[in-house]
């Protein structure tokens, strides 16, 4: 259970508050107008931002002050998910050994397996620059597999891909998350993503992250803030 307890974050005039609970293993979309705080919400969960008030809990344990790498969260950013000067093997190896040390034979095998799982078998010596955009996204997902964290936070990582490729990647995320049993938080500005991917949706608008509601119901009878965003 991920709990955001009376969470409040402010920066200058901007503020975001959240008081909600998300059960493990679900797929949740986070949508709302740009600038409303979708990415901020994700950063609070992942530990890149510290709230002014309130707590972030996972399975009842307070992790408000825990640094990002010690949280049960694996994150895919909008860009820069891989170091461009390192091979895929080394990029993925860092998920297992953050000190940059040599991998054991067993760990190397795990890396290969993860790459194979996302359809990049045999490409471990390639550098990200030698891959297509879709392949780069797959490699980043392979890293998430290795991290094996119970929460998966996606900050529009597929925004630069074409529509068909994006659907493919979301399907792959669904599979990967299913295998890990992970709670997926997907930030998107595209209502289609939410409908296709997420059973529940958190609407972030006017400084508030609303508690999750059923995605279908939300879009069938959108509240005022969402109607304005959708242009209805």
């Amino acid at each position: 259970m991920l709990t955001l307890e009376k969470l409040r974050y402010t920066e200058g005039d901007y503020s975001l508050s959240a008081d909600l609970t998300l059960p493990p293993g679900r797929r949740v979309a986070i949508i709302g107008p740009s600038g409303a705080g979708k990415s901020t919400l994700l950063d609070l969960v992942a530990g890149f931002l510290t709230p002014r008030a309130g707590r972030v809990l996972w399975q009842g344990r307070d992790m408000t002050a825990t640094p990002p790498d010690k949280r049960p969260v694996a994150m895919l950013f909008q860009q820069n998910n891989l170091f461009p000067h390192l091979s895929l093997a080394r990029n993925l190896g860092l998920a297992l050994r953050p000190g940059g040390g040599r991998l054991t034979a067993e760990e190397t095998h795990k890396v290969e397996q993860a790459l194979e799982r996302v359809g990049l078998g045999g490409l471990s010596a390639r550098k990200p620059g030698a891959l297509s955009g879709g392949q780069q996204s797959r490699a980043a997902l392979a890293r998430v597999l290795l991290q094996a964290r119970p929460i998966l936070a996606l900050d529009e990582p597929f925004a630069a891909l074409g529509p068909a490729l994006k659907v493919q990647m979301l399907d792959l995320v669904q599979e990967v998350a299913g295998e890990l049993g992970a709670l997926v938080l997907l930030v998107s500005h595209d209502p289609q993503d939410a409908r296709r991917f997420a059973g529940e949706t958190v609407l972030v608008a006017e400084g508030v992250a609303h508690p999750p509601v059923d995605t279908q119901e939300l879009f069938d009878s959108p509240p005022e803030a969402l109607r304005a965003y959708l242009g209805q």
Binding site: G47, P67, F83, H85, L94, G99, G100
Partner: protein
């Protein structure tokens, strides 16, 4: 970033060390400076001369750069890119090498005087005010040209199209497009060159001298070296410090932006001055500038080649000293620059620029004197001062890219929990290879060519190559001096080339 506390403490340690190394000597100098009464008339003369030669040097550099930069901005010709690259060369050209080259052209037996004699005209001497100004223009005309060229290329192409479609006369075009740009850029360029020339030491040492052509920096050197009057040296140091700080602050306010200028290869398409007199004038200016800059260098090579064979053991030993000093100061400079490659770190680095090397040297001299023979520490002190002097340039090169690396990858590193060492080894250093190579090249070249503090400290057994050239000149072994100067030129350009190349090789993505 997991490594943030480590990075911050490394930055604080680096900054603290720099401030201690810069302020310590200044404090030592200040405490030593007793009473204003010890300044002699010669010292006031030095102050006046310093200001006068700086004004003249900056004035001629900027005024002459205007037609050259305009010609380069609007003409396309074979070798234009190479010439523009060469305009960056004086920055890493050892002063003593340039001086030898200038003497070969303008000196007593130089090309110009021989031509004048052949025509039956009276010759002239390169020593004194005009020689100092000539050398400074040689060094700073290229800098001014680059700064102004940047200004010219920054004028949007649409404006020139508009001017062409309106059919503006050359005069109207100058007044509406070029004059405003010049009024914006030229004062800054003037101020920067003025500041550079204020701290002139090696040029004044070789082409000036005597009571009528001594700069404050040279007066400090003479007070320490010949009169051993440390009180007076300290007082002069304070004067030099105030001078440099005041002028430096003015220059910063007038700011001209980066001097390393990327994208100068571009060219403005213009519709004026395509034929006739403007075209001839542009060609003449470019040819004159190229001749003025390249002939002395050519003379160094031509006269140095036979001299290379005459290099004695002393010169080779000096060459070895120069290389080790350069290597050590480059490593030191980069070790400082990496943790300080942030906005506030760049300000700390500027401190080293504000304080003149001779002031630093004098202060360190005063500090180490109770504990050790300063002469035996000549090379370590030179290493230290060279690293400090090069630091602002290294930071100017490294900071933008280091900040970009942090902006792009700090979150990923945090998410992975990379250790500080892994961040440095696997991310920061590999991503910064190119700017690191460039910065290392500049630092190494500056250090190899430096003739400053070493002159203050050196004894006969511990020379660097520039000092060796100076000594050979002083004992009228001109051929050996030319050989050593050529070796020095090869070393400094070679070091720059090697480091810069090392940074570029095999870089992907």
């Amino acid at each position: 970033m997991a490594s943030r506390p480590v990075a911050v403490s490394a930055a604080i340690a680096a900054a603290g060390l720099i401030l201690a190394l810069v302020l310590g000597p200044v404090v030592a100098v200040l405490t030593r400076a007793g009473g204003w009464g010890t300044l002699g008339p010669g010292d006031w003369q030095a102050l006046r001369f310093t200001l006068l030669q700086s004004l003249l040097s900056a004035f001629f550099s900027v005024v002459l750069a205007i037609p050259v930069a305009r010609a380069l901005a609007r003409r396309r010709f074979v070798g234009r890119g190479l010439l523009i690259s060469l305009l960056g060369a004086p920055f890493i050209l050892p002063t003593i090498v340039a001086v030898l080259g200038l003497i070969a052209v303008f000196g007593q037996n130089g090309l110009v005087n021989e031509a004048l004699r052949a025509l039956g005209l009276p010759g002239f001497s390169i020593y004194g005010l005009h020689g100092v100004v000539l050398a400074h223009v040689f060094f700073n005309l290229p800098l001014a040209t680059r700064l102004l060229l940047q200004g010219w290329l920054a004028i949007p192409a649409e404006r020139f199209r508009l001017a062409a479609s309106l059919g503006l006369s050359p005069r109207a075009m100058f007044r509406t497009l070029e004059a405003p740009m010049l009024l914006r850029i030229a004062p800054g360029a003037f101020a920067v060159i003025f500041v550079i020339c204020l701290s002139s030491f090696a040029v004044a040492l070789t082409l000036g001298g005597g009571p009528r052509a001594t700069t404050v920096e040279l007066a400090i050197y003479q007070a320490v070296r010949f009169d051993f009057d440390l009180g007076r040296a300290a007082l002069l140091s304070v004067i030099q410090l105030c001078l440099a700080l005041a002028a430096g602050l003015v220059a910063l306010r007038l700011g001209t932006g980066g001097g390393f200028g990327a994208g100068l290869d571009r060219m403005v398409t213009r519709w004026d001055g395509r034929v006739g007199l403007p075209r001839i004038m542009d060609a003449a200016w470019i040819a004159l500038a190229a001749l003025f800059l390249l002939t002395p260098l050519g003379m160094v090579v031509a006269r140095g080649l036979p001299g290379l064979a005459q290099l004695g053991a002393g010169s080779w030993e000096a060459a070895w000293n120069s290389l080790t000093v350069a290597l050590a100061s480059t490593l030191l400079c980069l070790a400082w620059a990496l943790p300080l490659s942030t906005r506030w770190g760049e300000w700390v680095g500027l401190v080293g620029l504000a304080v003149s090397p001779l002031v630093l040297g004098t202060g360190l001299f005063l500090i180490v004197r109770p504990f050790a023979n300063p002469l035996s520490l000549a090379l370590p002190v030179t290493t230290l001062v060279n690293a400090l002097v090069a630091l602002p340039f290294a930071l100017r090169i490294l900071r933008p890219e280091a900040e970009a690396v942090r902006a792009d990858y700090a979150r990923l590193a945090m998410a992975l929990g990379l250790t500080p060492l892994a961040w440095l080894r696997l991310v920061l250093l590999p991503r910064l290879r190119r700017p690191l190579g460039f910065a290392a090249g500049l630092t190494a070249a500056l250090s190899i060519g430096d003739l400053g503090v070493i002159a203050l400290f050196a004894d006969p057994e511990r020379a660097t190559l520039p000092l060796q050239v100076y000594r050979l000149m002083g004992s009228y072994q001109m051929e050996a001096a030319a050989g050593a100067a050529l070796l020095l030129l090869i070393f400094s350009f070679g070091a720059f080339w090697l480091c810069d190349r090392g940074g570029r090789a095999n870089v992907d993505a």
